[in-house]
């Protein structure tokens, strides 16, 4: 099969039906369809409203702490001996990850729509914490669905969400991980259609979520553009970001899609390896299908049943990916690499030792591929990698993986 043609105008996607090429769409039960259409209208109006944008910008500056720095990782650059490596420091945001960029946008939209109750799903707990945070800030009740297995392995984040006043509901159906939490959040939404706003944490789900979450996360790429022009006087040669659902990645990539000189690399989690059944690389190891409201690449068996993903990083442990990534993959605008648990663990330690930054295990997947990308773009090149979150939440997991008791 030939790759579909690259479009002339990247900003024209998704189309009116929420499609990025063949991907995306609105595959939801009829009960939710009117709500999804209402959300689409409400978001389009808010997006075009300067007062909404100004309010969001104010909270991003004073509450989230934006803009965060673009930092030259000098020792890591020397270590790889190739292109100059910059980190976009999303881990310095309030709550320690990029997730809050999206939550701040969505909570302002939810209030504008008159919704009075927020629900969210979470895997590692980062989106749950960010949701709980904005709900506390604006005084809205929040229920976070979290797989029972994840509740066990991410106890500190469960405690944080509770401290912030949110209720965490453990989900025992299926494998008790992120995809099951998302199913349960959908069930809540379909049951509480009048007052409830579903705050999806990644650039996936029924239209308009993939586009809306991308827009709220695009502040990452927009800041990168301004900051790298200030630091280097030119655009980077490559962008690198880890991809689970893919919200930090699409926020990094989207503002550069039309800049053909900028190479784009996403990094999927290949867990124990692509040849095993324990990985989370939907693009590299999956095929297109429909789940959670959108058509996209999915890990599935030979009968169309969805498989459980595996990654050492709970935030990448999802069998799907945002539909825009599926499209960028098919048209060849972005290249998707894979990184195993072991490679991510090594990168986690390398970053801590060389740069004095403990990265999230998710971000460590991107760090692990910097050597490869640095060789690709050459010594005179410039790379910007999005450091999507900080790794404090992962120290127990990493210690256990390294066989150390803490």
């Amino acid at each position: 099969m030939n790759a579909p043609a690259k479009p002339n105008d990247w900003s024209a996607f998704p189309d009116a039906n929420g499609r990025f090429g063949d991907y995306g769409g609105r595959y939801v039960p009829e009960t939710l369809m009117p709500l999804v259409l209402e959300l689409d209208r409400a978001y389009s109006e808010a997006k075009a409203d300067p007062a909404f944008q100004a309010e969001l910008a104010g909270f991003l500056k004073h509450y989230v702490g934006r803009p965060n720095p673009l930092y030259f990782a000098e020792r890591l650059t020397a270590h790889h001996g190739g292109a100059k490596i910059y980190f976009k420091r999303e881990e310095l945001n309030h709550t320690g990850a990029h997730k809050i960029n999206n939550c701040m946008g969505q909570i302002l939209l939810a209030m504008r729509m008159g919704k009075t109750r927020i629900i969210a799903e979470t895997g590692a707990g980062q989106h749950g914490v960010a949701s709980a945070t904005v709900c506390a800030r604006f005084g809205l009740p929040c229920v976070v669905y979290m797989g029972a297995v994840d509740v066990e392995r991410q106890k500190p984040n469960v405690f944080r969400m509770n401290l912030l006043g949110s209720e965490v509901r453990p989900v025992t159906s299926g494998a008790g991980t992120l995809k099951d939490a998302m199913n349960e959040a959908m069930r809540d939404w379909v049951t509480n259609v009048d007052d409830t706003y579903y705050m999806i944490g990644t650039a996936a789900g029924p239209h308009p979520y993939p586009a809306m979450v991308r827009d709220f996360q695009s502040v990452i790429g927009e800041e990168i553009r301004e900051q790298i022009l200030g630091a280097e006087g030119r655009l980077p040669d490559a962008l690198v970001a880890c991809v689970g659902g893919g919200s930090n990645a699409i926020g990094t990539f989207h503002p550069f899609l039309a800049d053909e000189t900028v190479r784009i690399y996403g990094v999927e989690a290949s867990g124990h390896g692509l040849k095993t059944d324990k990985h989370a690389a939907s693009l590299t190891g999956g095929r297109p299908g429909v789940l959670h409201g959108n058509k996209t690449y999915l890990l599935q068996d030979d009968d169309g049943q969805i498989l459980d993903a595996h990654s050492i990083s709970a935030g990448l442990d999802y069998p799907g990916i945002g539909p825009e990534h599926s499209w960028l993959h098919d048209v060849g605008r972005a290249k998707y690499l894979t990184c195993t648990d072991d490679e991510a663990l090594a990168a986690f330690q390398l970053c801590a030792e060389l740069e004095g930054i403990i990265p999230a295990l998710e971000s460590a997947h991107a760090i692990a591929k910097l050597g490869e990308v640095a060789r690709d773009v050459g010594k005179d090149g410039i790379i910007v990698m999005t450091l999507s979150g900080r790794g404090d939440k992962d120290v127990n997991t990493v210690a256990a993986a390294l066989g150390m008791a803490i």
């Binding site: 009829e30 009960t31 009117p34 299908g289 429909v290």
Partner: protein, 277 residues
């Protein structure tokens, strides 16, 4: 074109002024042979139409009962080919009772719409309900199903407003399924008095019979709904009998329990309008 099994069945029931009793069970729950036994017994227990669930790993519109049924079926190794095989075997003995497959899009998409439609028609399937395929996304599936004479049965919900109705009933046939409560299957209880208005509205917009489901658990509630709707769908209450029999241990006869519940429900549905008169 000759009348479909669904059309014939509704015409016969209308002549008797009876509502249809639609029984839902999950294919392959608790195992393939056990579910074939239940399926084969349903017409004699009074089921006018059978909805056969296709198991899916991520049934996002189902309550706990059907979720667990889906898990049991997948754990027993049920494949899509087995689901179609059940229909084929059922048709060897029964060429009149309509069978509607109900499930989620991905397993159908994975098999390919054309291929699936062809296999389903050959097996003797009459209709399909795909929960996560709203009319906006349904055209490719409609193309395939129309080509082989299978009805794509549409869902309407309490949230479906007048503006959406034309889109919801476009390219549909057989009957329209009214989801009587905003929620998942088998949890909230349907309110029969709140159902009458939407049923009339849907009948007028589609020109088709209207079935009501989601949240009908008891013979009494089934009878109330049968007075205002053309068909009454019961799923979770039947599947609960399977779960109950399994929990009670191997001495319980799963088939007997399900068919006995089906008989009570069908009796209530079939006599509802007689008593009312």
């Amino acid at each position: 074109m000759t009348a479909s099994r669904i059309e014939k069945r509704f015409a016969a029931l209308a002549a008797d002024d009876r509502a249809a009793f639609v029984a839902y069970i999950m294919a392959g729950d608790p195992g393939l042979e056990a579910s074939f036994e239940i399926l084969s017994g349903l017409p004699a227990a009074g089921a006018d139409i059978i909805e056969l669930g296709m198991p899916f790993s991520d049934p996002m519109a189902e309550g706990p009962t059907i979720q667990l049924a889906s898990q049991r079926s997948l754990a027993a190794g049920t494949k899509m080919a087995d689901v179609l095989g059940l229909v084929r075997r059922f048709r060897e003995a029964d060429d009149a009772t309509p069978i509607v497959l109900m499930g989620y899009l991905n397993p159908v998409l994975h098999r390919g719409f054309e291929r699936f439609a062809g296999e389903a028609a050959q097996a003797g399937v009459d209709g399909m309900i795909i929960v996560d395929c709203p009319p906006e996304e349904a055209d490719p599936l409609s193309d395939a199903l129309e080509g082989v004479g299978i009805s794509l049965i549409r869902l309407a919900a309490p949230t479906t407003d007048d503006a959406r109705l034309p889109a919801v009933v476009r390219r549909t046939s057989g009957f329209v399924y009214y989801v009587s409560v905003a929620g998942v299957t088998g949890v909230k209880e349907a309110d029969a008095s709140a159902v009458a208005g939407p049923v009339q509205r849907l009948r007028a917009a589609s020109g088709l019979p209207v079935a009501v489901g989601f949240g009908i658990r008891t013979p009494q509630r089934a009878a109330e709904v049968a007075r205002v709707a053309d068909a009454v769908v019961v799923g979770s209450a039947l599947v609960d009998e399977i779960a109950g029999a399994l929990a009670a241990g191997s001495n319980e006869n799963v088939t007997e329990r399900v068919l006995s519940m089906a008989a009570q429900l069908s009796k209530a549905v079939h006599l509802a309008r007689v008593r009312n008169a």
